[in-house]
Amino acid sequence: MIQTDICIIGAGPVGLFAVFEAGLLKMRCHLIDALPQIGGQLSEIYPKKPIYDIPGFPEVNAQTLVDNLRQQIAPFKPTFTLGERVDGLTRSEDGSFIVTTVDGTQVKSKVVVIAAGLGSFEPRKPELQNLERFEGRGVTYMVKDPETFRQRRLVIAGGGDSALDWTIYLSAIAERVTLIHRNESFRGAPDSAEKVMKLAEEGKIDLLLSANLQAVNGNGVVKSVSVVDKQKVVKEIETDFLIPLFGLSPKLGPIADWGLNLDKSAIEVNTVDYSTNVEGIFAIGDINTYPGKLKLILCGFHEAALMAQRAFEFVYPSQKLSFKYTTVNGVNAF
């Protein structure tokens, strides 16, 4: 089990800066993020977009801001669990928290800081009846191990880059790949779109354009999918797997079940210290809500600073905190 002072959920800009504020007060941090890289939305959604409202930076590229934060917190040696979504939260006998990820990683800490932004990024699912009943029984939203599909029949749905790329890749392994896309053409990378068209012309894949998934059928496991075309003609395609690839969308996920007061998927906090209704758990950045809340990175930075002052009382209950400026004391690395 990983042991630390503060377990930060979410390695976006606010979670990263919380490491700095905690580090100034001699508190160590471990960060968990569902994405395989740090930076949250900035790295995942808009790495190349400029940001204009970070104090002291007239203009900064989102990824540059993340890189700078990584450099800024390096002296405090944060540790990371990336690519794992948090799942459970329990309390051990000594009062500390144990956060568990879906992959079973456990982090024990005196304080939990939720800086999860808009939640973890999860696959967008098509609206099909009983879809969830087939998850793990032929329906999968990501390709973890391509070998799973060797010599099997697959239906891939979607028109973005990942649908195109996996169609190309898996067409060489699978017995048969059918790609379903609701438009007449692809807007993904022109190169990939061209390759998919060529595979279809050569009869190596089945391509159904202007078509939509209508149903997934089977008895316990996927047997076939029903697809409806523009003329409303329904066609049934026998298959072993259905892989819907419709991108990612953020969801609050299991955090919603941790007993925290929520308002519209945001965690209610006290603005004195950004504490939640559960003692020892704080929420900072886009995930929290309070009267006057603004979802700005700079507000999240402020929240991190105030949170750290109060978290100190949980980490060092017998010590008195005296406030110090970095200009006077410098940054004392661990």
């Binding site: 939305q41 959604i45 808009y46 977009k49 808009l118 967008r124 699912k125 098509p126 609206e127 749905a157 979607g158 028109g159 973005g160 609701r182 438009n183 692809f186 807007r187 993904g188 998934l213 819907p244 419709f246 991108g247 969308s249 953020p250 519209k264 998927s265 979802k295």
Partner: protein, 107 residues
């Protein structure tokens, strides 16, 4: 004044009336009117949490740009009438239009 109507997730239709000189996107108007949309990305056509369908009167709306079309293309439940509210500026072009929310409701 600009008048248009919005059908929410429960199927209820409400008419919104707004002054024509406010510089907002339809997404911002919907948020300000307390519709349960997440508007995660804040208006960059990157999250599709303001996805809606134009039910009628959409012929005067400016056509979607590349960023919007790219995002719409990835959605499982998009139709030919789908738009992202964040990419539609409030203007006289919305007069009389009717929209239905398509993105999952924020609870």
């Amino acid at each position: 004044m600009i008048t248009f109507s919005v059908e929410d997730h429960t199927g209820q239709v409400q008419t919104l009336e707004l002054p024509g000189d406010i510089n907002l996107s339809l997404m911002e108007v919907l948020k300000a009117s307390d519709y349960p949309i997440a508007a995660t990305c804040g208006g960059m056509a990157l999250c599709a949490t303001c996805h809606l369908e134009v039910l009628s009167g959409g012929d005067r709306l400016p056509a979607p740009g590349d960023a919007e079309l790219d995002m719409l293309d990835t959605l499982p439940n998009a139709t030919a009438q789908s738009r992202l509210a964040c990419q539609i500026r409030l203007s006289e072009n919305l007069q009389g239009a009717c929209f239905a929310l398509k993105a999952p409701a924020l609870v």
